[in-house]
């Protein structure tokens, strides 16, 4: 099982804050997971998740580029942060 979270503008654009995915080979890395989500939900998700400045985190740590995933991981997609 993978837990996938979306925050802020991304959450609004997808109208989805969290979902869970069955573990399978197709989601064994970040790019694979993103492709799986886009294939399942359509063009709008592809456009939103494909934005240039999208940040991806695995188990609450920001990841640059692709990265292998393991069963039980928590993945998050969010826009650049604006706190403080």
């Amino acid at each position: 099982m993978l837990k996938v979270l979306f925050f802020a503008r991304i959450k609004e654009q997808l109208d989805c804050g969290a979902l869970e995915l069955e573990w399978q080979d197709a989601v064994a890395d970040l790019d694979g997971l993103q492709e799986q989500l886009c294939a399942a939900h359509g063009d709008q998700w592809r456009e939103v998740l494909g934005q240039d400045n999208m940040i991806r985190a695995v188990n609450q740590t920001v990841v640059d580029g692709n990265r292998a995933l393991r069963d039980g991981d928590e993945v998050a997609f969010f826009p650049p942060v604006t706190g403080g």
């Binding site: 826009p79 942060v81 604006t82």
Partner: protein, 161 residues
């Protein structure tokens, strides 16, 4: 860094906070303590020509607290920090309300000022908070600013001290 580990606290909360109380709580009691520098951030009443009626602050529970704690540890590794504390509010805030407080205690002002600024610069670019301004024209997600990224970047390479 030699000496006892600095006291570090992180709080992410909806409630407002009392700056005077936080500053007193930060006092480490260490014999060499000689300086406390603190920063308070507020909700602007207007931003980029837009009137702000209220602001909603969203965050990533868990990652937020951990990333701030990591920033405090990085500050303590660079400067002789005796105590450091961050309080950051989330939820709905009105214009003029306090958003964030950072306090650093040290033996001298240079370390206290620098560590406080470093913590704010890193918090703005690394801690997973997102601001949404609500005004007469509806909601507007605040965009990340290049200025904030370059301010944080100047601490890299060790020349900014």
């Amino acid at each position: 860094m030699a000496g006892p580990l600095p006291m570090m606290t992180v709080s992410v909360q909806e409630a407002d906070f009392d700056v005077a109380q936080l500053q007193e709580a930060l006092r480490s009691g260490a014999q060499q303590e000689g300086a406390v520098a603190a920063f308070t951030g507020y909700v602007r009443r207007s931003n980029e020509q837009r009137q702000v009626e209220s602001m909603e602050l969203e965050h990533y529970p868990g990652m937020t607290e951990n990333s701030i704690a990591e920033i405090l540890q990085q500050a303590a590794a660079r400067w002789p920090v005796l105590a450091a504390s961050v309080v950051h509010r989330v939820g709905k805030l009105g214009p003029g309300e306090r958003i964030v407080w950072v306090g650093v205690s040290s033996s001298h002002r240079e370390a206290a000022f620098s560590a406080c600024e470093f913590i704010m610069d890193y918090l703005k670019t690394r801690a997973p908070f997102w601001k949404k301004e609500l005004g007469p024209d509806g909601g507007h997600w605040v965009s990340a600013r290049e200025h904030d990224t370059s301010r944080a970047a100047r601490w890299q390479g060790g020349s900014a001290q």
